[in-house]
């Protein structure tokens, strides 16, 4: 009898707990709007939204390879399972055509869709929550002005209990701080604009900060480097491993053009980011650079010789000519470098016509071997976007695993002067697997 009442009491408490959790997790649906009821779009507002959508890299995730922009369907592998991006064109059935402005702004900042379902934080609402009312409304105006396309994303592939969306309310309770951006009056307008874009729409920390076991950014380690789609997103600011410290001018150049003669070329997911940034107001790019530069510089290295700049007083380099290769070192990796790499990387042709001197490369000096191995195995494919980028042939079919390891170890020792990475062999296997 006594046991039974204890059990009943426990059950009652448990039920109340579940009910409370469900009540906490519950978000009300926002009534659908009649598609087309919005009337003539505000073109100026939509145009501003288009630029903001580029700053937020919306199309980068909301477009499947070869698909129509913003129709979703991109598979995003996460440590927890595969999530597919959604259609954010104004199609009434498969897109956001029935979403009111209020529903859109709530989704952007709180990660809740029009029907009241919690969205997975692969959608970086932990950053977008900082976006201002004006900008959120401009983004809505832009998305409602593009052509509606009927297209449904495949269902997410997530294990229980992650496939139960109310659990996300718990994640948000732990990790989502819903705060708008507040300007720091002690800093100038440009810096504040930059911080607003970097921390908000630009969601730079989503890749460049490490994440905890529950997939949330470690706020104590902001910009200390993270992972993105099989690439290393390098540490920024004081933890940067770049052989030449970044300054505002270099950051501006790199973000706007996708490469910098002393730092190299944006690769992997960052290539999409710089493609987008090449199309926005240059003032926004230099504002982001201003803020990022204020994060500080990595340790100075005095052993990096910056090659002479091309220009008056220097012999012009002929694009296409092979440079004389250095003599073969006895090191097996060095021999491969001298015979296969040096003709481009020591040719001193300027980017994008020549390869970067590897003493300048963050891929060689960086925190993990991932990017260097990716580059050696896959090369840099010609850009489909039309912007002039360096290209590099991949060596994955030419070099065996041991040869790649020898080469990597040589480059790391010779050009970065750092101790060898752990996990290089794994990185080779992974780069081959995901080619």
């Amino acid at each position: 009898m006594k046991l039974r009442s204890v059990l009943l009491a426990l059950l009652a408490v448990g039920a109340m707990g579940v009910t409370a959790a469900l009540l906490y997790a519950w978000e009300s649906p926002i009534p659908p709007i009649d598609p087309g009821s919005a009337g003539a779009p505000d073109r100026a507002k939509a145009r501003r939204g288009a630029s903001l959508a580029l700053l937020g890299d919306c199309a980068t995730c909301h477009t499947a390879p070869g698909g129509v922009p913003y129709t979703g369907g991109l598979a995003m592998p996460t440590p927890f399972g595969t999530i597919y991006s959604t259609n954010i064109t104004p199609d009434p059935e498969t897109g956001i055509g029935r979403w009111s402005e209020q529903a859109f702004v709530r989704a952007l900042r709180s990660g809740v869709d029009r029907e009241g379902r919690h969205l997975y934080p692969a959608f970086p609402y932990d950053h977008f929550t900082r976006v201002s009312d004006d900008d959120a409304e401009a983004l809505y105006a832009f998305f409602m002005s593009i052509d509606p396309v009927k297209s449904s994303a495949p269902p997410n592939e997530l294990p229980f209990p992650l496939n139960v969306r109310p659990t996300l309310a718990g994640w948000k309770l732990l990790f989502l701080r819903q705060v708008r951006f507040v300007a720091d009056p002690s800093k100038d307008e440009k810096w504040n604009r930059g911080k607003y874009l970097v921390d908000g729409l630009g969601h730079c920390g989503a890749c460049h900060s490490p994440r905890n076991l529950l997939g949330a950014e470690k706020t104590s380690a902001s910009f200390e480097g993270g992972e993105a789609e099989g690439w290393r997103a390098y540490a920024l600011g004081q933890s940067s491993q770049s052989p030449v410290p970044w300054d505002e001018a270099a950051l501006t150049d790199y973000l706007a053009r996708g490469s910098h003669p002393q730092h190299g070329t944006a690769q992997g997911p960052m290539a999409n980011v710089v493609d987008n940034l090449s199309l926005v107001d240059p003032a926004d790019v230099s504002a982001m650079a201003s803020y990022l530069a204020s994060l500080g510089k990595g340790g100075e290295r005095n052993d990096v010789k910056i090659p002479d700049r091309s220009g008056p007083g220097r012999l012009p380099q002929v694009a296409g000519a092979q440079a004389a290769t250095p003599s073969i070192p006895s090191d097996p990796g060095g021999a491969i470098y001298a015979a296969a790499c040096a003709s481009c990387h020591e040719g001193d042709r300027p980017l994008p016509l020549g390869g970067l001197r590897l003493c300048l490369s963050t891929a060689v000096a960086g925190e993990t071997p991932t990017n260097l191995i990716n580059l050696v195995v896959r090369g840099i494919p010609a850009s489909a976007g039309g912007s002039a980028r360096p290209i590099m042939p991949g060596f994955g079919d030419v070099l065996g695993d041991q040869q790649i390891l020898d080469l990597t170890n040589y480059l790391r020792t010779q050009f970065a002067g750092k101790k060898l990475w752990d996990g290089t062999a794994n990185a080779v296997a992974e780069a081959r697997r995901t080619r």
């Binding site: 296409g320 015979a339 296969a340 010609a382 290209i391 042939p393 030419v398 070099l399 065996g400």
Partner: protein
């Protein structure tokens, strides 16, 4: 001394180990099908097949190729007995100046060996690393489709014709 297996034959190479494969093929072995275009692995004219994969021979030093299987265009057939890829390119008259064609044929061959049913889209995307500035692109695509038809095992077709 380095030993290479080229078109099924074992060849001893006198050149220094850092010599690009292309120079060895052309200057030492007299296999002139692979062409020097850019010397930087960016145009595709020098493409040959190593262990089933199309690679740029101009940037591949012979020292990394010991024990691997190298096939050049000469290995696909000769003027008296051209192989299916070569017959298809002749039939479609797919060469204008022809300088880039040996490389294209080698990459197409590697693709069809791997995937005899390659789609048009797959063929186009596979040949993307090859630069060509003359006017036969559509003929090149037709030639590769023709070669694919000829190279596929005939059993399925033969049965349907009966």
């Amino acid at each position: 001394m380095i030993t290479l297996t080229v078109n099924g034959e074992s060849r001893s190479i006198k050149a220094s180990p850092d010599t690009p494969l292309l120079y060895v093929l052309r200057d030492e072995l007299g296999l002139n099908a692979a062409k020097y275009g850019c010397g930087l692995g960016q145009c595709g004219a020098c493409t040959v097949i190593v262990d089933g994969k199309a690679i740029f021979s101009c940037i591949t030093p012979v020292m990394v190729l010991e024990g691997r299987t190298i096939t050049t265009l000469e290995g696909l057939g000769n003027p008296d007995a051209p192989g299916p890829m070569q017959r298809a390119f002749i039939a479609e008259q797919a060469a204008q100046c022809g300088y880039c064609i040996p490389g294209m044929m080698m990459r197409a061959q590697a693709l069809l060996n791997r995937n005899p049913h390659a789609s048009d889209e797959a063929i186009r995307s596979e040949l993307q690393p090859h630069l060509c500035r003359c006017g036969t692109h559509m003929r090149i695509l037709r030639a590769i489709r023709r070669a694919a038809d000829e190279m596929r095992p005939k059993t399925a077709n033969a049965r349907s014709e009966r």
